[in-house]
């Protein structure tokens, strides 16, 4: 295998895939990236056995072939080379040499045949979307995914369609985020859970322009973004019935300036208990009072003018959950629907919108 290219031609693809090259991998070959040179194209593949990323680029292939080399070392070398310098990669016995200007590096290799790759995912569902639309679905919900929860099916994001709408849902059991969009073309119904790591990698790769092709198989999801192909295993589990925990018509409705409410909560949060982050919301007609205190008995109180016509009530929340929802929801104004101090609240744009946030209270 031998190929010649500019530094920039391989730097981008290497940076795109390096996120899944684990630093403390269980198999030595997972520290490597797979290089496949063929027909004027170089494809670079990285995997952690859960998420696989393939980035391709046009290069001058002088001799086709495939091999794996240490991924981070190759990236660090290419990154440190001068701009625009010509780079030659050549396999020499069981070593790979990297030449650029007056620099020369020799890297160890492992055989390409040992590198685990996902070939065919047997797609049962194919959807074409704008990158910005997919990005929105992920950005509006990802923060509610659980992390290392024993309920492993919460450590990811539900991606589902009923054929008409495409929807993402994430929940850690204390709060839930949902975002949906209408599909241009009808598809079959499907419901899968994309693992957390896959969601975060995908978010890193998606831009704001261009199209993406999403394919869902029984065990994998694959997303093609131009020269980059993302494949992730799916979580084999049953996502909770999220529909029954979204309050349909909460009896008490508070409408507030989203930014004013968010800033007030941010300030109050400074003096909330660092571990449990509890704040208390006290509602009176057209006035919301937020209070927080910490074990040092320091205290914060914020008053926020709101539109509220119901009776007085008090409810406690983890302030981080409220802030996450307020940061994600669209619009200058926000509507918070409440039932009582033991029931979930619904945060959304006034009158609806296609993103919903549900937060369970804290008993304070």
């Amino acid at each position: 295998m031998k190929l010649v290219c500019d530094r920039e031609q391989i730097l981008g693809p290497l940076q795109a895939v390096i996120g899944v090259v684990e630093r403390r991998q269980t198999m030595p070959i997972l520290a490597n990236v797979l290089l496949v040179a063929k027909n004027g194209r170089l494809s670079i593949t990285a995997t952690d056995l859960e998420v696989e990323l393939v980035a391709a680029t046009d290069v001058n292939v002088q001799q086709g072939g495939e091999i794996t080399v240490p991924g981070r070392k190759l990236l660090d070398i290419v990154k440190a080379l001068p701009d625009k310098v010509g780079v030659t990669l050549a396999l020499d016995g069981d070593r790979m040499t990297v030449r650029a200007g007056k620099s020369r590096f020799t890297l160890t290799t492992l055989p390409a045949t040992d590198f685990p790759v996902v070939d065919e995912i047997n797609a049962q569902l194919k959807v074409d979307l704008d990158q910005s639309a997919l990005r929105r679905l992920l950005d509006k919900t990802h923060f509610s995914m659980a992390q290392q929860d024993v309920r492993y099916y919460l450590n990811g994001m539900l991606l589902e369609t009923d054929g008409k709408m495409l929807r993402t849902v994430a929940t850690d059991g204390h709060r839930l985020a949902l975002c949906e969009m209408e599909l241009d073309s009808r598809s079959g119904a499907q419901q899968v859970i994309v693992p957390r790591k896959g969601v975060l990698e995908l978010q890193r790769l998606i831009g704001d322009e261009g199209a993406v092709a999403v394919q869902v198989g029984s065990n994998h999801i694959r997303v093609e973004l131009g020269d980059i192909r993302f494949t992730s295993k799916l979580i084999d589990g049953r996502f909770p019935e999220y529909g029954r925990v979204i309050p349909a018509t909460p009896p008490r409705t508070v409408t507030a300036d989203r930014d004013a409410l968010r800033r007030a909560l941010q300030r109050a949060a400074i003096l909330s208990n660092e571990k449990y982050r509890g704040v208390r919301l006290a509602l009176k007609p057209n006035l919301l009072t937020i209070t927080a205190h910490n074990p040092e008995q320091e205290e914060a109180e914020e008053e926020v003018e709101v539109t509220y016509a119901g009776d007085e009530m008090e409810v406690g929340f983890n302030v981080n959950y409220l802030l996450d929802a307020l940061s994600a929801v669209d619009g200058a104004e926000v509507e918070v629907g409440l039932t009582d101090s033991n029931s979930s609240c619904l945060v959304r744009a006034p009158g609806g919108g296609n993103a919903k946030y549900v937060v369970m209270p804290m008993r304070l």
């Binding site: 929860d149 839930l176 205190h293 033991n342």
Partner: protein
């Protein structure tokens, strides 16, 4: 039966006396009695030097001085002991949240779940002893075993400054030769009667036939035999699992006016509120206890939702309960009032799917031995007033600030302890 637990019993050595000897080096090595200095009180604590003369706590000071005439009597300083106790309990909580305090100087710790982080029970016990000594300069005796009963016996075996472990296969060997009086719950009377039957050791007690034990213990016979065999399934009830937080006050002069009762009730509500918040608990039941001059005692309780930490909310309900009772007994003279808070729960994040975090809502995941952490005990008290009062009292003492409603009609007592005074 469940997997073996790891329980520690930590007992500070001659706690009050040791604190005094630590604070006042000139007392070290002397026979010290902490207790009433007037000669009419009882011994609250005795140093090891004075115990040699047969002096023990709860003995009248006069008798103690008869046995050891050169003993030094020291007036108890409860505030100081509480302070040291707090440091000691802080050490406990660095090793496990499951701490069941028995008194200022004694606690059970369930360290079953701490072993992975902190090592074997004996290692944890040694670390606790070292840390207590480092922070307070005092020594503790620790017993380690797989239940409370054995841990308590173990801590007593090598006092002072002891560390004793009873392994499951050593139980009979250690317990059998011990005198029956070592078993908690066997008082002097029962012990004497058992000894009359020829039962002197726990081994003999354990093997005694029903014919001997049944007349003495009745239906508790099997329980006594179990305990003599070192069997004890009682869980360590962490302090936040307390059933009730309460305060009561017996009055010098019986109260007849509702206004005075309300004032006392406000003080009591304040006291329990402070303790509730200090423990980061919420309550959803208020209990009011009323004792009449003739010692007839009544309790009235009410549960409510949501749970609260707020003194104001507690007081409101307590008043209504008291008023309800007063309506039945308008002419009563009251010698004691008490306010209790029950249905206690840690402040907690509620779960969307109806189960606490760590439980699986579908049968697919059985991994419920979850690193779910502790229930979050946190958040803020009801009114902003409460934490402010807590803080002031922490700094300046319990009597530094008082609710106006606690003052009664007679105004504040000018006793030099009440921070609020009338201007003349």
């Amino acid at each position: 039966m469940s997997a073996p637990r790891a329980i520690l019993h930590v007992d500070m050595d001659a706690f009050y006396a040791s604190v005094e000897m630590h604070d006042r080096p000139e007392l070290r090595g002397l026979p010290v009695i902490v207790g009433g200095t007037s000669g009419r009180g009882v011994v609250a604590a005795a140093s090891y030097e004075v115990r040699r003369y047969g002096v023990h706590s709860a003995m009248p000071v006069r008798e103690a001085l008869a046995r050891c005439p050169h003993a030094v009597c020291v007036k108890p300083r409860m505030e100081r002991y509480k302070e040291v106790s707090q440091s000691v309990f802080e050490v406990f909580h660095e090793f496990t949240p499951l701490v069941e305090g028995l008194s200022l100087d004694e606690a059970y710790l369930d360290v079953t779940g701490s072993r992975r982080l902190h090592g074997e029970p004996a290692v944890i016990a040694a670390a606790i002893k070292a840390r207590i000594r480092e922070r307070t300069g005092l020594t503790a005796s620790v017993g380690a075993a797989h239940n409370k009963l054995l841990a308590k016996i173990a801590s007593d075996l090598k006092k002072p400054d002891g560390l004793c472990t009873i392994a499951p296969d050593e139980v009979a060997r250690v317990l059998d030769p011990l005198p029956i009086r070592r078993l908690h719950g066997i008082g002097p009377k029962t012990a004497t009667r058992l000894e009359e039957c020829g039962l002197h050791t726990l081994g003999q007690l354990r093997a005694a036939p029903d014919a001997v034990l049944w007349p003495l213990f009745g239906k508790h016979t099997q329980n006594v035999r179990d305990r003599a065999a070192g069997i004890d399934e009682r869980p360590v009830e962490a302090d936040w699992q307390e059933k009730q937080v309460s305060a009561e006050e017996t009055f010098d002069v019986d109260l007849k006016r509702a206004a005075d009762m309300h004032a006392e009730l406000a003080k009591l509500a304040d006291r329990v509120g402070v303790r509730l918040r200090a423990k980061e608990l919420t309550a959803s039941t208020v209990v009011v206890k009323i004792r009449r001059r003739d010692f007839a005692t009544y309790t009235r309780s009410r549960s409510f939702a949501p749970a609260t930490q707020d003194t104001g909310a507690v007081l409101k309900i307590a008043r209504e309960l008291l008023d309800g009772w007063l309506a039945e007994q308008p002419r009563a003279a009251v010698r004691l009032l008490g306010v209790g808070l029950a249905s206690l729960a840690p402040a907690v994040q509620l779960d969307l799917f109806g189960q606490p975090a760590g439980d699986a809502p579908t049968p697919r995941s059985e991994a419920t031995a979850a690193p779910a952490g502790l229930p979050p005990a946190a958040g803020r008290a009801g009114a902003k007033l409460d934490p402010t009062l807590d803080r002031i009292r922490e700094k300046f003492g319990d009597a530094s600030v008082t609710r106006a409603s606690s003052l009664g009609r007679g105004g504040p007592k000018e006793d030099g302890f009440t921070g609020v005074r009338r201007r003349s």
